[in-house]
Amino acid sequence: MATLTIALMDPPYEAETTTTALRIIDAAVRKGHRVNVFAYEGAVNLTMKDQAAHPNPVKGTTVEEEDHVIPSKLVAALLGTEQVEWINCGLCVDERGSGNWVDGARRGAPADFLKWSQESTNTLVIGTK
């Protein structure tokens, strides 16, 4: 079993890289690996518990018909496997006022990312565009 460390920077509902990163984390977990995620900049908003589905009044569709994917629920599911650790950059959190996280996410600093990188099999930094 290996350990991967992944750094994310994109906020939810913004970039395809978030979907790809969650796919990679999911694949690693299914293969029995451990994954450390360091959320930096806008990515700290991925863990915000208050994300919610909504209807679309323009199209006249309901919440159920819209069937939105909620990033924080995906993150919560990954954290629920207990193979994923998630640290949000504390300064990035303070800047954005992004509290009320899903269970398992915790506050940290770039020093945690460095420590994880040194301890991991590999590290992947997925930068923002």
């Binding site: 290996a2 991967l4 395809e16 890289t17 790809t20 796919r23 990679i24 694949a27 690693a28 299914r30 293969k31 690996h33 099999t121 590999n122 590290t123 992947l124 930094v125 997925i126 930068g127 565009k129």
Partner: protein, 111 residues
């Protein structure tokens, strides 16, 4: 020699610096390194035949050539048929990407 995993998520017509990743892959392979170029998201657009000035077609062919993989999910999202990809491109997926990432000593770069 080292093992490099270059992950390209961008289309060269979207960002000018994308071409540097192809050049980097080619140069690393020419130095005798084991290089995989994993195309994902808009990075898979270069797998289509008929792309003008396609950096994928500019990669060197030979014993030390770059291994090119394309994410199946990204191909499907963009309606690119797996049966009409440029020669040398192999269809892959994120499961395989994880296998490559966890190989000891692999140097991974995302762009």
């Amino acid at each position: 020699m080292s093992n490099y995993l270059l992950i390209e998520s961008r289309d060269p017509f979207e960002y000018g610096d994308t071409r540097y990743m192809y050049s980097l892959a080619d140069d690393l392979a020419a130095k005798g390194n084991d290089v995989t170029l994993f195309l994902i998201q808009n990075g898979v657009f270069t797998t289509r035949p008929g792309v003008k000035d396609n950096p994928l077609e500019g990669l060197s062919k030979g014993a030390q050539s770059v291994k090119v993989l394309a994410d199946d999910f990204s191909l499907r999202e963009r309606g690119i048929s797996q049966s009409s990809l440029l020669g040398g491109v192999k269809v892959s997926n994120v499961d395989n990407l994880v296998d490559l990432l966890v190989q000891e000593g692999t140097k991974a770069v995302w762009h």
